[in-house]
């Protein structure tokens, strides 16, 4: 069920990118797209009834059924990359605002 929500989130992010003309809204849609993608990546590795892939004093042996740890490691990287691009996008948005005085792309007018 979460996997379907992740795909719909991905598509809503794409929808936001296609329709919104506001710089901040575009960055928000980009974030929604990335959250959806991260949820989908982790959902690919989910095993029903599996345990979190950490050895603790409770689930302490390697014979237990664990969830797939590799997609979680990939998502750690994807989240940090998403933050990197969002920080850059917002810095660009501030520059654009200083130059054009607005966030709406249509009001900027391509000079």
């Amino acid at each position: 069920m979460l996997q379907y929500a992740a795909i719909v989130l991905l598509m809503l992010g794409l929808y936001g990118l296609l329709t919104q003309r506001n710089i901040i809204k575009i960055i928000i849609s980009l974030n929604i797209l990335e959250i959806g993608l991260n949820l989908f990546i982790v959902s690919v590795g989910f095993v029903d009834g599996g345990l979190a892939p950490i050895f603790t004093s409770v689930n302490n042996s390697s014979n237990l059924v664990f969830v797939d740890p590799l997609p979680q490691a990939l998502v750690l990287t994807a989240i940090v990359i998403g933050v990197g691009t969002t920080a850059l996008g917002l810095a660009l948005a501030k520059n654009i605002y200083q130059k054009y005085g607005t966030f709406e792309i249509d009001e900027m007018g391509e000079e």
């Binding site: 794409l14 797209l33 990546i41 590799l70 990197g84 691009t85 850059l88 660009l92 654009i96």
Partner: protein, 459 residues
């Protein structure tokens, strides 16, 4: 002395150079020159990282294909940096990280690692294009690049869920043994679109117009020749040695790519600005590169990238320098530019004639061999497309050249500094040398064809 130094040393230099602001341009020059020199001493081998063997750990693949790719990308990177680093001192650390990212893209043998390095060099590219002083164009490039790499990651994760591995060699073995070519079509299409955004293929290259039409001496050559070459090599590696795709999918992709070529040529023909002509012809050429790899010709695809990258560097460097000085890039303002700087004019002419594919130049050798191989496989549609586009290219390049050489009364006064002249002339001489004496080119191309296991091609 292992290939990992090509990535570790630029990263170490980047981390250190944020402390020594004044010395960072010289660190950049030294490291990029060093990375070209190191290439001579690297044995061709697969390097595992962290001590865990291939499908479980990450490995770097240094075979003949990636050695040539590294030579091309690193040399052109050093030439651009040598010219532009004095003016753009502020972003030398960014250029160091871009060098590490590009070397990573060409070396890595792991699909997720390729995604990370595409992001590293992509973010470095966004920062390089901020020197264009066009924040909206950089913002469009950032959004397009991020969406592209997100789609690439989506396709990669679906493939991981199906085959359980992230390593390229392991993945291609699983795909070939499983024989699910129809099921692989969808994730492969996502990855193709993801990379297509970066390679300026047709439906997703709107960002390229904003970036390259207002480019300067650094962004123009960097994005149009170095980054385009790196992405071309990635396409080569993925299309030929990883993916096996069915007839139907091969046809769809060929149609997308041919549309890119035709549209690129048409827009270049119709455009009035020098940089726009070069921009659209570089879009068409990147489409041609992908087309050649789709047909499975690895060797000649590599040399098509080499010819394009060298030619594009000369064209964009000269055009951008002139438009920086004159302020506008209308063809009318450039009239008679080469009359009083003959050397630059000669180099520009050599580069554009090689792009068209006229005899005596590297472009001709590559195009003739590709057409020969295509005819051998009994395929007539694609050679026809290549010939028509070469003719269209010929028309608008010659028209441009005539204007630039035409003797005018008020000649635009543009001063080219010595380093730029020297670099451009050396490249032009190389293009002519390999055009005339093309034996080594043919042998290496057949070598690459021989020892790259061509998994791709229509099943």
């Amino acid at each position: 002395m292992s290939a990992i130094l090509l990535i570790a040393i630029p990263l170490l230099a980047a981390f250190i150079s944020i402390l020594f602001k004044k010395a960072s341009p010289y660190i950049l020059l030294f490291v990029s020159f060093g990375s070209v020199i190191i290439l001579g001493y690297l044995p061709l081998e697969t390097i595992t990282i962290g001590g865990f063997s291939a499908p479980y750990g990450i490995n770097l693949v240094l075979d003949q294909y990636s050695l040539i790719a590294l030579y091309v990308v690193d040399t052109l990177f050093f030439l651009i940096v040598a010219i532009a680093c004095v003016k753009y001192k502020k972003i030398s650390t960014v250029l160091l990280v871009a060098l590490a990212g590009l070397n990573g893209i060409l070396l890595t043998g792991d699909l997720f690692n390729l995604f990370v390095f595409i992001e590293v060099s992509g973010i470095a590219a966004y920062l390089i294009t901020t020197t264009n002083k066009k924040p909206l164009a950089t913002f469009n490039y950032l959004v397009a690049g991020t969406v592209g790499s997100s789609l690439y990651l989506l396709g990669l994760i679906i493939l991981y869920a199906m085959f359980g591995t992230l390593n390229m060699a392991d993945m291609s073995a699983n795909i070939a043994s499983s024989g699910l070519t129809t099921a692989v079509a969808f994730p492969f299409l996502l990855m193709f679109i993801g990379l297509g955004v970066e390679a300026k293929l047709l439906p997703f290259n709107s960002w390229a117009k904003g970036i390259l039409a207002h480019s300067n001496k650094l962004t123009g050559p960097m994005i149009a020749s170095v980054y385009a070459a790196a992405i071309g090599f990635v396409f080569g590696r993925l299309l030929t040695s990883v993916f096996v795709f069915s007839d139907k999918l091969g046809l769809i992709l060929t149609i997308i790519v041919i549309a890119t070529i035709v549209a690129g040529e048409a827009m270049a023909f119709a455009s009035g600005k020098v940089r726009e002509i070069l921009l659209f012809s570089s879009i068409a050429q990147s489409g041609l590169v992908v087309l050649i790899f789709l047909q499975g010709f690895v060797g000649w695809g590599v040399f098509l990238i080499v010819a394009n990258a060298a030619g594009k560097l000369i064209l964009f460097m000269i055009a951008n320098h002139a438009s920086d000085e004159l302020g506008t890039d209308e063809v009318k303002a450039f009239k008679g530019l080469f009359v009083n700087n003959k050397v630059i004019g000669l180099a520009f002419t050599v580069a554009s004639l090689s792009a068209i594919g006229l005899p005596m130049f590297l472009g001709f050798v590559v195009k003739m061999n590709i057409l020969g191989d295509l005819f051998a496989t009994g395929d007539y549609l694609i050679p026809a497309v290549i010939l028509i586009t070469s003719i269209v290219e010929g028309i608008y390049f010659v028209r441009l050249l005539m204007k630039l050489w035409y003797k005018e009364d008020n000649l635009p006064v543009v001063q080219y500094e010595f380093v730029l002249k020297y670099v451009v002339v050396v490249l032009a001489v190389l293009i002519m040398l390999f055009g005339v004496y093309s034996a080594p080119v043919e042998t290496t191309a057949n070598d690459i064809d021989a020892n790259t296991i061509v998994e791709g091609g229509n099943l």
